[in-house]
């Protein structure tokens, strides 16, 4: 290492040197050194285990609430029922791959309507941009599945092994029956949660109660077991073992989100204008000429990714706001106002330093643009969904041969039509044509009773072939061998749809 000129090194040296003399040592956590500090940088980095401390406060409560909400939605949704009529699946949210349908409550999407999912993804992206530009990495800190499951797994770890200091001690101890029991219990519960998570995933793709019964009686299809196994492995590994490594090394969001906030975004920050100069504080002494930060290290202890927020904005910080709760607890204890670490904007930090009044510019060009784009896309999707047709028709004219001359001199064209019945009930469809005078519609088989009456089941499509022939004496209706022709399909409830095509014959 070269010259030790950085503030950081000085502070660490100070903290280490004055640890024994600190009178507020009851509040100090000397083992709390940031994982990404200059001293801890070998060439290849072993996983540094972060043992975060439990905090109490507003943001911890918000995080518990969000976790409960998101996990309930994830685990419970596959079991919600939705009646669609006889013969149709009754699961509210179902991705039916074999039948190629996506059911979402009252919606039913066919594969060719996949662009609705595109719209949904665009909405999600715009929503994310908007949220990030207003309040920083709220996705990362509160709602990201990696954060939620890691939080859950750490909660389980705390149940079995105790809080931070107890866990550090346990790791240092030799192996004993007690330690084995604790570790085994923790890993067992982790595996159980992972299996349930994997299970919930596959329940979105098949009927949940049926598959659940099959899984416990070991009669489920192999694919189900493979995917549950896969997700168990990934949940256990990513949530239990990898944890912050996912955020720091694997995930692209930290890099992208860093580009999405600006000087008016609310970010979890340490107000160094208030906190510096930091140092231990003896009870009863004045707070004049020094900062409010007593260098207790609680913010570092509470951090699930193990960084020091006082170093400033950094990639590893997922902005989960637990350091805010940790610091507020301490500030209450030493009788100083809360908010030494808090949601702050870069501009407000400069304004405070310059003595100007604070401004919270949540409504600004960037957020307005995101919000408007979001509304436009949402409106487009709502309109598209409202206008979704339940009867569709496609007509494919035979191209080889273009036309056939029959023995009586009439001209015949062949057509393959596809009638798509997206309704949840069966219907009988009547096919007619509108075209040159004298044109006759016929089925392809002479012994079909009613070729133009086609019965189609619910949620199904049917391919039917037709011949249209024009008698010899009507061939003058063709202009240069071409005439317009339309297929009209109606059902017994009055729905109808039209598809235009052409009728071709020899050039006159």
């Amino acid at each position: 290492m070269s010259e030790p000129a950085t503030n950081l090194e000085n502070l660490v040296a100070e903290a280490v040197g004055t640890a024994s003399a600190a009178s507020s040592s009851a509040l100090n956590d000397d083992s709390a050194v940031a994982v990404n500090s200059q001293l801890n940088r070998p060439l290849y980095q072993s996983r540094i285990k972060v043992q975060s401390k439990l905090v109490h406060g507003t943001f911890r409560r918000i995080k518990w609430l969000v976790m409960a909400l998101t996990l309930s939605i994830y685990y419970v949704t596959p079991f919600i029922r939705w009646n669609r009529g006889p013969g149709m699946p009754d699961q509210a949210v179902l991705l039916d791959f074999p039948a190629r349908r996506f059911y979402f409550f009252f919606l039913e999407i066919w594969p060719q309507e996949f662009y609705y999912v595109t719209g949904l993804l665009i909405l999600a992206a715009l929503g994310l941009f908007l949220a990030t530009s207003v309040a920083g990495r709220v996705w990362c800190g509160y709602t990201c599945p990696q954060t939620v499951w890691t939080d859950l797994f750490v909660f389980v770890e705390r149940l079995f092994e105790g809080d931070r200091s107890a866990r550090i001690r346990l790791d240092k101890e030799g192996w004993s029956v007690g330690k084995l029991a604790r570790k085994a219990g923790k890993h067992a519960v982790w595996l159980l949660i992972a299996i349930l998570t994997g299970g919930a995933w596959v329940f979105y793709f098949a009927d949940a109660p049926t598959l659940a019964m099959q899984m416990v009686t070991f009669s489920a299809p192999m694919t189900a077991y493979i995917f549950v196994g896969l997700f168990t492995a990934t949940t256990y590994t990513l949530g239990g073992i990898a944890r912050k490594q996912v955020c720091i090394y694997m995930c692209p969001w930290p890099r992208i989100q860093g580009a999405m906030f600006d000087e008016e975004s609310l970010l979890v920050s340490y107000k160094d204008d208030r906190g510096e100069k930091r140092g231990p504080h003896k009870k009863g002494t004045s707070w004049e000429g020094r900062g409010d930060c007593i260098d207790c290290g609680q913010c570092v202890a509470a951090c699930p990714v193990g960084i020091d927020i006082r170093d400033g904005m950094q990639l590893e910080c997922i902005q989960c706001a637990l350091c805010i709760d940790a610091c507020n607890e301490i500030m209450d204890k030493v009788g100083r106002p809360r908010g030494l670490i808090g949601y702050d904007t870069l501009n407000n930090h400069d304004r405070r330093k310059a003595g100007e009044p604070l401004r919270f510019r949540i409504i600004r060009p960037r957020t307005i643009v995101y919000a408007v784009a979001l509304l436009i896309v949402a409106a487009i999707m709502v309109v598209a969904l409202a206008n979704r047709e339940t009867l569709q028709l496609n007509v494919l004219r035979d191209r080889n041969p273009l036309f056939v001359t029959l023995s009586d001199g009439s001209i015949r064209n062949g057509y393959g039509i596809k009638i798509i019945n997206k309704d949840t009930a069966a219907h009988v469809f009547h096919v007619t044509i509108e075209g040159p005078e004298g044109a006759r519609l016929a089925g392809i088989s002479a012994d079909e009773v009613n070729p133009t009456e086609i019965a189609i089941g619910p949620d199904a499509l049917k391919n039917v072939r037709f011949y249209v022939s024009l008698p010899k004496d009507r061939l003058s209706a063709l202009d240069d061998g071409l005439a317009e022709l339309s297929f009209v399909v109606t059902d017994e409830t009055g729905r109808h749809t039209v598809r235009e095509t052409t009728f071709r014959g020899p050039d006159q």
């Binding site: 070998p42 072993s46 041969p401 029959l406 023995s407």
Partner: protein, 294 residues
């Protein structure tokens, strides 16, 4: 590109020493799990080279490659797949072979197989003459229309396919002859012209009705034996219907004169010697389904 390493003020990390347009790179440590995964991938590649085809080398016979201990080849994979398909198809082919052709036409699932097979076989064997859409051409019948020389029923089509028309190698081939009235000096040019006018008059295309009437007498003397008194043809003899709108060689005066003068004798191969019976049944069902089957 300089090689001046220095320490970054903000993070306290050394740079790699390289610089691109003023941009430097911090030399942060790599996570161990990442490095080990990389090593495992390298080890896996060594295993792969031993098991699967991997390295090309030059030998006396040209470029070869190491085959791998597992013996995997793409050709082998394809032939295994084709084998599986043939086995699956064999179930249906046995049924098609055993059933009479009219019964197959009534069985929906067998028809699906037969039509698909017929379509594929048609493209391989029949399209060169009859066209990819079976529309034929001059001298090659259009199989989509409802005009048949030798009969359009399923059994008729099956027989035509099996034994062919004027196919010398087949003993049971369909045989007939359109005489060469001029070349064999059976009729004079004038008589040929007259009878051609008469034939055109049957489709109301004649120019001269007097000539056509004369031609009618020639017709009655020479043509009714095959083409019938009403000129509607005879499918047992393969004689075309001269009153309809479909002409195999052309329906204009000059072509009809040529036909009369020099005769016609198109050849249809006998596929019975070349294709199995079940395939011929599939073909017959397919052709019959093209819109003109009787």
């Amino acid at each position: 590109m300089s090689t001046q390493k220095h320490t970054d003020e903000i993070s306290g990390v050394e740079t790699t020493g390289h610089e691109w347009d003023g941009i430097k790179e911090l030399n942060n440590p790599l996570p161990k799990w990442w490095i080990y995964t990389f090593y495992v991938c390298i080890l896996w590649s060594l295993v792969y080279w031993v098991i699967f085809p991997a390295w090309p080398y030059l030998s006396s016979g040209g470029w070869k490659h190491t085959a791998g201990s597992y013996g995997y080849t793409q050709r082998g994979e394809v032939s295994a797949e084709l084998q599986k398909v043939a086995e699956g198809r064999a179930v249906f082919m046995k049924q098609i072979d055993a059933m009479p052709i009219e019964d197959i036409a009534k069985n929906d699932s067998l028809m699906e197989v037969a039509l698909a097979g017929g379509k594929a076989t048609f493209a391989d064997n029949c399209a060169p003459c009859h066209g990819s859409g079976a529309a034929g051409g001059n001298g090659f019948p259009n199989l989509n229309d409802d005009d048949w020389l030798w009969g359009g029923k399923l059994t008729d089509i099956q027989t035509t396919l099996t034994h062919g028309i004027r196919w010398e190698a087949d003993a049971d081939t369909r045989q007939n002859m359109m005489p060469r009235f001029l070349d064999d000096k059976m009729l004079t040019r004038e008589q040929i012209n007259d009878v051609a006018e008469y034939v055109l008059s049957l489709s109301n295309k004649a120019d001269d009705s007097a000539v056509a009437t004369r031609g009618g007498e020639v017709f009655a003397a020479n043509c009714v034996a095959c083409h019938g008194a009403d000129a509607k043809g005879n499918q047992a003899l393969g004689a075309p219907n001269l009153t309809d709108a479909i002409w195999l060689y052309g329906g204009d005066k000059a072509t009809i004169v040529t036909t009369l003068s020099h005769g016609r004798g198109g050849v249809m191969p006998a596929w019975g010697a070349r294709l199995p019976g079940s395939t011929i049944k599939e073909l017959a069902l397919y052709v019959h389904s093209l819109g003109g089957g009787k």
